[in-house]
Every structure is written in C-alpha cells, then in structure tokens.
C-alpha cells in the first residue's frame, strides 16, 4: 500500500465480438477508499516501460514502478523498465498554450569584452569591411 492507495496489476481482459478476450498488456489500478482508478498500462514483455495515463508527480512514479514490478514477478510475469512514461502535466500544457511558460533559451556566448558573440556596436564599420561579393563562392 502506497500512501493509503492499493496498487493492483491485472492483465487486460474484456469482450471481443468472438467472446471474452485478453490482450498482451497489464493494467495498473489504484484502489483508495473503495474507489478504483486506472493509472496506466505496461506491455506483457520483459523490461517493458510503464505508461501512466494520469499525471503522477515524478517522486511517486518510482514507488509505483517497484510495486508493479513486484506484482508482475509474483505472478510469474515480466520485469519492468526503470523509466516510467507519463502523460504531460495538464497545468503545464495550459500554461504553454497561453504563452505563460517559455522554454529555456540556449546559452548566449559572451566575448571577452562582455558583448554577446555576433554583436557589433558599429554597424557601419561592419558594412565597410564586408566587400560586395566577398562571401560568394
């Protein structure tokens, strides 16, 4: 049990037109106070990564991964990859779309005199030094 939440791993089973059917994936369920929620999936093969379909903070993913791996191995199943995939944080997406969140820009290279690389104080001087056709091959 993790913070009052029971993690349960079950193979996906349902109904196809031909009748009951299982698929080669495990479903990760969370039970808390009688309410169950689906957390994600992991393929039924060794070293498969977990994919979380709810946004789970990074510090909670490792305990879930360990519990999933423990249960899969107890069921005679497969190991789990160390990396856990998770859907993007909806709050971050909203901020990104609204332009409230900018990605970090590349580092600016600064020349020894403190000016950014590629910056010329006197534009005219630069023009004078570059002769017409100089850059043509």
């Amino acid at each position: 049990m993790l913070h009052g939440v029971d993690i349960v791993v079950k193979q996906l089973s349902g109904w196809s037109p031909a009748g009951p059917k299982t698929e080669p994936i495990d479903v990760i369920w969370a039970y808390r106070k009688g309410v169950k929620s689906k957390l994600g999936y992991v393929k039924r093969k060794d070293n498969a990564p977990i994919t979380l379909i709810r946004f789970i903070p990074e510090d909670m993913r490792e305990p879930i991964r360990l519990e999933v791996e423990k249960q899969r191995l107890q069921q005679g199943g497969c190991s789990v990859a160390k990396h856990v995939n998770c859907i993007p944080n909806p709050k971050v997406i909203t901020a990104y779309v609204k332009g409230e969140l900018k990605k970090p820009k590349p580092t600016t290279i600064v020349m020894p005199d403190g000016t950014p690389a590629g910056y010329y104080e006197d534009e005219d001087e630069t023009t004078d030094e570059t002769q017409e056709g100089e850059w043509d091959e």
């Binding site: 996906l12 299982t22 698929e23 689906k38 709810r54 995939n85 997406i93």
Partner: protein
C-alpha cells in the same frame, strides 16, 4: 446511467509508450458493413436487402499539440521512432484508447499507424499535428 464527454481520453501505443503528446482529440472509429440488394424482377413494392458478411473497422485520427523537440530523433521515442522501426515502417502494436480515465472503459487491440500530418504553421496558432491509425481487428472492449 452516466454520460461523459471525451475530456480525459487517452491513447497509448504500448510498443512506443513514450510517445505521449498532448492530444486534443481522437476521432471516433466506426464499423460498417454493406447491405446487399436481393431484389429481383419478381420483387414487389420495395427492394429487399440482406446484411453483408463482414464489418469494416474504420480509421482513426488523433490530433495533438506539437512540442518541436519531440520531432528530433535523439529524443526517446520521438516522432521518427513512432513512425519507423529502423528504416522500415512501424509494425502493428497493441493500442489502448481510454474513453475517459475516470470511467475506466477502454478499447484495446493491435493497430498500426497509417499517417502523420503537420498542420498549419501560422502566427497566433498553436502548432498542431495529427496522426492517423487503424485497428487491425475489432478492438476488445474492457474496463
């Protein structure tokens, strides 16, 4: 009976599980079969029909907001990793489509990607793209 919207729906390709862009919609899939005309010269009043033998499961389209960095192949399971397996096209893969996380109901079966489209690049328009994909068989409906 509880009615829900499509908000919260999720799509996972379990062989490329890191391909998790910010989806904005998943097209509904359809299954249709032909209706065969059995009318003859001796039929009276109206045409007669029988159902065809097989349903044709229709294609799916899923739109998402683009993070340009995820197009770079050096990123784990980028767009290229999703569309290709080495130099070849991606093989079929188990796909799960959850109608809504809280409802728990989902569709699952093997499926394959059939296309990618980058949508309009324009000022004041969030960069978006879409993928098209197809179930290999009628999906299992599960919880």
């Amino acid at each position: 009976m509880a009615h829900v919207s499509g908000h919260g729906a999720t799509l996972v390709f379990t062989d490329t599980p890191a391909f998790l862009p910010s989806y904005t919609s998943h097209g509904g899939f359809e299954a249709s079969r032909p209706s065969l005309d059995t009318s003859s010269l001796s039929t009276n009043g109206s045409r007669t029909k029988i159902g065809g033998d097989l349903y044709d499961v229709g294609p799916m389209s899923s739109s998402y907001l683009v993070d340009p960095l995820l197009m770079i192949t050096s990123e784990a399971e980028s767009l290229l990793d999703f569309l290709f397996a080495g130099a070849d096209v991606s093989p079929s893969d188990t796909v799960t489509l959850d109608t809504q996380v809280s409802s728990g109901v989902n569709f699952a079966a093997d499926g394959h990607v059939t296309g990618f489209a980058l949508e309009e690049l324009s000022t004041d328009l969030v960069l978006a793209a879409s993928i098209t994909w197809q179930w290999d068989v009628f999906p299992t409906i599960a919880e």
